[in-house]
Amino acid sequence: MFALIDTQTDLIQLRDELTDHSAGGYVSFEGWVRDHNEGQQVLKLAYEAYPLLANKEGGKIVHEAMDKFEIIKAACVHRTGLLEIGELAVWVGVSSAHRDAAFSACRYIIDEIKVRVPIWKKEYYVSGDSGWVDCEECAKHGHVHSHGEHR
């Protein structure tokens, strides 16, 4: 299951949907809005998605994880819209018989989500600037940030 959501969600409900009597391990990842990025003080941020393709590609990634790892259930939700510091941006949950597969699958899902799902993040800085954030991989490879915008 992959879903885009536009408000805060009930984490316990998400978790409870992954329970299973044959599951002995559960791993979850949460991405939170943090107050800094690459040296800038972040005030808040906005996520924008291409909904149809994001849902399609997100669902595909979760299915890939089900195929690749010995897991029981897996799910991922991603926020869109304006988020404050500390808010949940993305959640991934995986249950499995043994913990190794749950750790690997959870890591796989979040890694793939970040580079393959058409979602973009605009950061609003304390300085008054704002900017669209390049993907992790691009940042690693030294591409330039496009922080040219001013509000």
């Binding site: 991405g31 399609k56 970040k114 799902v117 669209w132 591409h143 040219g148």
Partner: protein, 79 residues
């Protein structure tokens, strides 16, 4: 041939719209992007982008057909 084009994130900001209809003779997304880039001078190069046709990822040399929805996407930055 009539197409609908959608932009996201900084491409939308730079095009000044999220969606537009266009009449073009371009054969594929690569040609189409070059045509649009001449108009908008996007800050991102084709090599940094991905393209979708009718809500599926496509190749830069995939053929375009009448009525297609073409979406240019900046580097993904979810999570």
């Amino acid at each position: 041939m009539k197409l609908t084009i959608e932009y996201y994130a900084q491409l939308r900001d730079e095009a000044g719209c999220g969606s537009e209809a266009t009449e073009t003779s371009c054969l594929n997304p690569a040609e189409l992007f070059a045509e649009l880039n001449a108009r908008y001078s996007f800050s991102l190069k084709q090599a940094q982008l991905r393209v979708a046709i009718n809500d599926s990822f496509a190749h830069w040399d995939s053929p375009l057909n009448e009525g297609d929805l073409v979406v240019f996407m900046p580097p993904m930055a979810g999570g």
